[in-house]
């Protein structure tokens, strides 16, 4: 089980980092999600892996016989936060796509003239 979980975390993290370094904003958003999955699994693993153990301590049971409930609570919080912020990122991504007309992370295609926006359109406004 340890091997499967560590392989899973590793694959998630590696794919996430790779996607994060891609030039399109949607790939960055997917990369952030995958990285968040990897980190959530990692937090879970920090509570030590146990099968079939209840996360509740009853009187009389040995503390080693239960699953650690704290990382599970942490995962729940982290999950909600990363989910919400990824949604927010998607909204900003769409706004950036709409405003700049490009889904490149720099807001302009590589090859285009550098600088903010389109200089030719800015001139008449000034």
């Amino acid at each position: 089980m340890e091997i499967v979980l560590s392989l899973g975390i590793g694959v998630f993290a590696a794919s996430g980092v790779w996607l994060l370094l891609r030039p399109r904003t949607f790939q960055v958003a997917l990369g952030l999600s995958l990285l968040a999955y990897a980190v959530n699994l990692f937090i879970f693993a920090m509570g030590r892996l146990k099968v079939g153990a209840p996360p509740v301590l009853e009187s009389g049971t040995d503390a080693s016989g239960i699953a650690d409930p704290v990382p599970q609570a942490l995962v729940l919080t982290a999950l909600v936060i990363s989910f919400a912020l990824t949604a927010l990122f998607l909204v900003v991504l769409l706004a950036a796509r709409g405003v700049t007309g490009s889904d490149h992370v720099d807001g302009q295609e590589p090859g285009q003239e550098t600088g903010q926006g389109k200089p030719s359109q800015r001139e008449p406004g000034r």
Binding site: L35, A36, V39, F42, M46, T77, T86, V92, Q116
Partner: protein, 520 residues
Amino acid sequence: MSAWSDHLLVLPIVLPIAASGIMLLLDERRSGLKAAISLATATALLVTALALAWRMTDTPEVYRLGNWAAPYGIVLVADRLSAMMLMLTGVLGLAALVFAVARWDRAGPRFHALFLLLLMGVNGAFLTGDLFNLFVFFEVMLAASYGLVLHGSGEARIRAGLAYIAVNLIASLFFLVGVSLVYGTMGTLNMADLARRLSETGGGAGLFEAGCAVLGIAFLIKCSAWPLGFWLPPTYAAASPPAAAVLAILSKVGVYVVVRLSLLLFGAGASEGFGQGWLFAAGLATIAYGTLGILGARDLMRAAAYAVMISSGTVLAALGTGNRAALSGALFYLVSSTLAAGALFLLGEILQRGRDPAAASLAVFADEYRDPFDDEGATETGRAIPAAVAIVGGAFLFCALMLAGLPPLAGFVGKLAMFSGLAAGAMPPAAWAFILVLTLSSLGTLMPLVRLGTLGFWVPHDDSDPVIGPLEFAALAGLLGACLVLTLWAGAALAYTDRTVAGLSNAAGYIGAVLGRGTP
């Protein structure tokens, strides 16, 4: 736990989130009511912070949420450092809010709700005594800051906001990895309990130190240390000025956590001085990078953003020298430079508006919440107050002297305190390097600010002079007045930071206050 004053400690968190919730119930058109509630809340926060600082003793105050005892429940802990940062947040928050009420709060929806949420997150991060709770407050603060960076919309803000959100999401993931490594190795996330277990086990395992290093990376990204801080200048320069002024405190939250955890966990014991060399190097590099950036800055907003970086770097480097007197001076410098940087953001807006009024009003009011019947432009700033050029020029000079650290203002006092603290002991090469870099950075800050001032005030322009409304003048006067108070009562303020550092270095006192003496 029954007296009203016992609950003062939770007020900086409960008050803004309650007010922020009320904001959501109010319609966007009732901007007057919203502004009144916001201003009342921010004033109450400042008063609370002052009261907390006033009654602060050598023992940290502890507030047990839900009355659960410390290692199991979550506690709020206030010591002198927390109280100092709460005061700084209170002053900066109130000033930025007053400035925003003049007209910026109408540039987009839900400004007040986001602003109060940001204050709640910042206050919570300063007060909490639990690492995971710190993460939650960090996220509250960051989520609100994403909204504030995008406030007012526009292409520049959306482009900067996209990068800002991506970088901070990654930093949050680092934070989570660090927190879970610390939990996995030490079995607790309460800061005091961590310090106690660390001293009992006689030093951290390698994995624990690795976890702390990962946590450190997360905090260094937040306080924009070189090479992790390239996100800060474009974001702060693009954000709307009142938002940028209050965002100046955001990078200081990272600095605060680094200072607190370094001194609490690594002040003594087997892991003593862990990461100190890295902090010193990162701090010096941040000062150098910030100075180069400010030298190349072509407008005031960007210059102020780099000034924020320099101030973070100074505290990190002073912490890295391991000299307590220098750290005390650095904390004083942190307060004064943050106030001055905030004022510079506001000044930058006033100057840019004066130069290009048409573009500014277009950027501010181009959104769907604009009242179509409201005649814009004529009543933009309300009644303008006279002698605007003299006021803005004087305020600019004041900020420049504060940030460059020249006499006679508080920036100079802070730098002098750091230098004299270093000079009191033996002078290792690192201390010389610190003094050299800091002196050069003073010069490197002064030159571009003088150049920008000359261009802004002395070069004749064919367009109108800067206009400043009464509320905006009040905000500026508040920030600069706070700097002036720091300058005039610098002795008392330095004595306070001295006691702050002494309290921070006394880990046993912190542990005793939080966990209670005698408990296992």
